[in-house]
Amino acid sequence: MSDCHLTCREIADFLMAYLDGDMEADRRAEFERHLGACPPCVNYLRTYQRVVEMARASHQCDAMRPPPVPEQLVKAILAARGASGGAAGDAGSGNNSPPCKG
């Protein structure tokens, strides 16, 4: 696609280092010369960046609306704590609230 020294394969291979600023100035300049002459590599870079954003966004709903913690898991954790000597009595008793709706 471009006649620069770096090939498209090398652009793809070192893309993360370029985006992270983890590249020496000479190499960076060569990288940018290639990008200036090679629209497919620019598309590759843009879509790569978009994929990173999409991956980050793909699980955000978990953080904003976490799933309910199953009641039996709460009880199991508190019982295991009691069994390991960390608590006296039945720490899980007295709570019969239903699991939340996610």
């Binding site: 590759y44 843009r46 709903c61 898991l73 704590r81 960390g86 899980g92 939340c100």
Partner: protein, 203 residues
């Protein structure tokens, strides 16, 4: 800037109660954080019983370690690191399912270094117009699950769980360079997979 931070106050109150052995505080900790921690464990462990075991292991580790919690980070951040570690420990005990090589998902090149399928279309801005945002998130999650485990784990740690390269390397017991290489390949593979899926959707 002397306004107290409510979240930090809540953390401080809860930590004090936990250190005092207050039973209700342990239950509050589990109920407040268990759902978020379960969501994290499920990302690493496809089997629900494994994910719940990891959450239980994480809380038991946390209960034992409260005296060492220095309060420099948020309680939820501290618990997040603990459940990620518990999930990775559980993952190591599980037999890996047969999976394709990462090479199968990476872009192919001719001997002169030119791609066999150059990226002729920039779809980075056009997805929301063609696919509903929720569909995109579901599509991305499904494709992440398809990645070979070694690569998926690094992508989850760095891009989803927000660990830095050094933290990820320490948790996995691999070098920083290995984390970088695996992360880049995982992202490249995910890019190829999503491009393929978007082509199918558009067709």
């Amino acid at each position: 800037m002397t306004t107290p931070q409510p979240v930090e106050d809540a953390d401080a109150r809860l930590i004090a109660a936990l250190r005092a052995g207050d039973e209700a505080a342990f239950e509050e900790l589990v109920r407040e954080n268990g759902g978020r921690m379960l969501a994290v464990a499920r990302r690493f462990l496809p089997r629900e019983d494994d994910a719940q075991d990891a959450v239980q292991d994480a809380f038991l580790s946390a209960f034992r370690a409260f005296d060492r919690f220095d309060g420099k980070s948020r309680l939820s951040t501290w618990l997040h690191r603990i459940v990620v570690n518990a999930a990775l420990m559980k993952l190591r005990t599980r037999r890996r399912k047969p999976e394709r090589s990462i090479e199968d998902y990476l872009p192919a090149y001719r001997s002169d270094g030119h791609p066999t399928n150059p990226a002729l279309i920039d779809w980075s801005e056009s997805i929301p117009d063609t696919v509903h945002r929720m569909d995109v998130a579901a599509m991305v999650r499904a494709q992440i699950e398809e990645l070979p485990e070694t690569y998926r784990t690094v992508l989850l740690l760095r891009d989803i769980e927000g660990l830095d390269t050094q933290e990820a390397a320490e948790m996995l017991g691999i070098t920083v360079n290995a984390v970088k290489t695996r992360l880049h390949r995982a992202r490249q593979a995910l890019r190829e997979m999503l491009e393929q899926r978007l082509r199918e959707v558009a067709a």
